[in-house]
């Protein structure tokens, strides 16, 4: 067994690692630690900091509004994960099954990966606009009153669709690669055995690419929590009536609209812990259910 570790000079190693370590410490770890510290203060822009102990957390615990935002975010992230992965899996599978012209479809599908969330938000705001949206009149003709500036659930759905849409490309890239790595002979065996397409997808491919799926669940969860900020900001500003006030937007508003930095830091800490726990849980689950070869 050969090894890659051929250099041993520790000083050199330290010097080469220095940039990463400095940037990580200064801009990643230190602010995180400081966020924890700041969460014990009432701190605001230009008004001085006052130590308040656990007051911010007490306030969070007592806030039904915040609790609602937490539940909303979890629901939103879950819907994003499930929605985007269901769509992406179908799309990737379709492309995988196509014999000629795969590449073209692939490029046509993965491009939303490059789509800035802000653009996604604006474009969706425009096409789904309750008053001037291009599809609005058609949907209203179906008997649904498109009114998501006032109607919370509708707003949730519209932002969700935009969020899912933007994330499809990213998922398809991974799923296509994973499907492409499934040994062809497995597909052929299934073909010889007369296994139907859907069976093949669900019974053969999905279990085999489950490590990729787990990875995507995690990435999509992070995206659902953090990556959709621009869409919320541009489409609904957390409204109507808080129906899309997901944690990250709530946090932004607390910090940069209300300038309650201490309170916002407490929210950061909660968000950090929540996402950390969620990812830990997903890792544990994946250990149990994902198939990792070998």
């Amino acid at each position: 067994m050969s090894t890659h570790e051929v250099f041993t000079d520790r000083l050199q190693a330290g010097v080469l690692l220095l940039p990463t370590m400095v940037v990580s410490l200064l801009f990643l770890y230190y602010p995180t630690v400081r966020a924890i510290g700041l969460s014990f203060y009432q701190a605001s822009l230009a008004r001085g900091d006052v130590f308040v102990g656990l007051e911010n957390y007490r306030r969070l615990a007592g806030s039904t509004e915040y609790l609602r935002s937490v539940l909303l975010s979890v629901l939103f992230a879950t819907c994003v994960v499930v929605g985007v992965m269901a769509v992406a899996l179908c799309v990737s599978f379709l492309i995988h099954e196509i014999e000629v012209g795969k590449g073209l479809y692939l490029v046509a599908v993965i491009w939303p990966y490059a789509l800035p969330p802000a653009v996604a938000g604006l474009v969706f705001l425009f096409i789904a606009h309750p008053n001037i949206g291009i599809f609005t009149s058609y949907i209203e003709a179906l008997g649904i009153d498109v009114n998501w500036f006032s109607n919370g659930p509708q707003a949730f759905v519209v932002v969700l669709v935009a969020a899912v849409w933007k994330q499809i490309g990213y998922n398809v890239i991974f799923m296509t690669a994973a499907l492409g790595n499934v040994p062809e002979s497995l597909t052929e065996t299934a073909e010889l055995d007369g296994v139907s397409r859907t069976q093949r997808l669900l019974r053969v491919y999905v279990p085999i690419i489950s490590p990729t799926l787990v990875f995507l669940v995690i990435m999509n969860t992070i995206y659902g929590f953090f990556g959709t900020f621009a869409m919320v900001d541009l489409m609904t500003k957390g409204g109507p009536a808080g129906a899309t006030n997901i944690l990250i937007y709530d946090l932004y508003r607390t910090a940069f609209q209300f300038y309650e930095f201490g309170f916002a830091s407490a929210k950061s800490v909660v968000l950090f812990v929540a996402v950390g726990l969620l990812m830990y849980g997903q890792f544990r689950l994946s250990d149990r259910y994902a198939y990792y070869g070998g």
């Binding site: 822009l45 230009a46 008004r47 008053n131 006032s150 109507p240 009536a241 209300f258 300038y259």
Partner: protein, 419 residues
């Protein structure tokens, strides 16, 4: 990390830095004035556009916090107290020359910006909200375009006719911004908050236990419920105007500052537009609240710098500048002299739409109700009111329940800020 006067330094040593929120043609007009100022005084001044009043506010607070400050910043009247609370701004009165005719400002305007007898910031672009309406649509619906609605009930019935006649999708639209709620209150002679809307001390409660609030929200809910009100979204100024201009709603409540844009927009879309006073709750009219913004100046800058800033403020406030500004934007002129000159030139006669706002302002009584709320947690109270308004008009909560929720939420914010 709070500010200390000693370490204040300008963003740009060589030139005055002015942060503002005037986009589009308004921004161009402003730039014209600044160009003129530079050529007249040889003082360099650099306008920096900050997207929105909220943007200016955030960046200003952060600048005051860090000590690297712009020389002048344009703060929405709503956020005045929040900026004053930093204790890092210099009352502009101290920068103006002693003979600067402060008395020449319209009293409705200066009364808001004068706190404890001191002019804290320099009023500049001020406006109120009025009702725009589509004359062509009114005619088509068989309504008299020369007698626009004046009360909530009339607005409702006009809207009903417009929709029933199939002329427009909805009757009325306006952006969901706290300013309009403030307007309804002040027009009805009510203060939104106690302590004279914050002008007489720290307020502690929101006045929702009154007919004004109930009438307003019952009406609003009914309008929304019957599809007479088209909701453009929270703080969606542009969308509201679009809705009106594309003929989806025949009436629009928005700032007088939009006169220019709406006039040309209507022309483009082929209809005749007119405007009228802001509707009253039930016929009694006290007057509108002031809107728009004023210029603030940070404290602690060196004297020569302050002198330059003083020159700038004086320039922006002088009648000629105000006339240019008014004509270019629709914000009303705030110098008596300027108003008189415009009258003499026959400007208002030629442009009746510009007159409406002005008349609405000057006909108003000067009571605590017509002073806009002046509070530190303005942004929190604002978003709370706006968010709750959606719940109320969309019927997600009943009016009584919603109003008491709103009241306690606002009280929480006030309480937290002032405790």
């Amino acid at each position: 990390s709070s500010s200390s006067g000693a370490s204040v330094r300008p963003v740009d040593e060589d030139s005055l830095t002015i942060w503002h929120a005037m986009g589009g043609t308004n921004g161009e007009t402003l730039q014209g004035l600044v160009d003129q100022f530079q050529s007249e005084t040889d003082i360099d001044a650099n306008l920096v556009f900050q997207d929105s009043y909220e943007g200016v506010l955030t960046n200003t607070l952060s600048a005051l916090d860090s000590g690297e400050v712009p020389d002048v910043f344009q703060i929405d009247s709503l956020f005045a107290q929040q900026v004053l609370d930093t204790d890092a701004v210099e009352p502009v009165e101290n920068l103006l020359s002693d003979d600067y005719p402060v008395d020449d400002f319209l009293s409705n305007v200066t009364s808001f910006f004068t706190i404890d007898g001191t002019l804290t910031s320099m009023p500049f672009n001020n406006s109120n909200a009025i009702l725009y309406y589509n004359r062509s649509a009114f005619e088509e619906a068989g309504l008299d375009p020369d007698s626009p609605p004046t009360t909530l009930e009339e607005v409702r019935s006009y809207s009903q006719t417009l929709v029933d006649e199939g002329v427009t999708d909805a009757g009325l639209t306006w952006p969901n911004h706290v300013w309009f709620v403030e307007h309804f209150y002040s027009v009805d002679g009510q203060t939104l908050l106690d302590a004279e809307n914050g002008h007489a001390g720290q307020p502690t409660t929101m006045q929702t236990d009154n007919a004004t609030a109930r009438s307003l929200y019952e009406w609003w809910h009914e309008m929304a419920d019957n599809g007479l009100f088209s909701n453009p979204g929270i703080e969606a100024w542009g969308e509201a105007t679009s809705t009106f201009l594309t003929g989806q709603a025949a009436m629009l409540m928005t700032s007088t500052a939009s006169v220019t844009g709406i006039r040309s927009g209507a022309e483009e879309n082929g209809f005749e537009v007119d405007n009228a006073f802001y509707p009253t709750i039930d016929g009694d009219r006290t007057g509108p609240v002031i809107g728009g913004a004023s210029w603030f100046v940070p404290s602690g800058l060196p004297q020569d710098r302050q002198d330059d800033i003083g020159s700038f403020l004086e320039f922006m406030g002088r009648p000629e500048s105000q006339i240019t500004w008014h004509k270019g934007t629709g914000y009303y002129p705030i110098r008596q002299t300027a108003v008189e000159q415009l009258e003499n030139d026959g400007w208002f006669a030629e442009n009746p739409m510009y007159r409406t706002a002005f008349d609405q302002l000057t006909q108003a009584e000067n009571t605590p109700a017509t002073k806009r709320m002046l509070i530190g947690p303005a942004r929190q109270v604002q978003t709370t009111i706006q968010d709750m308004s959606v719940e109320l008009f969309s019927g997600e909560v009943g009016v009584d329940e919603g109003l008491s929720e709103l009241k306690s939420a606002v009280e929480d914010e006030l309480d937290r800020y002032y405790s």
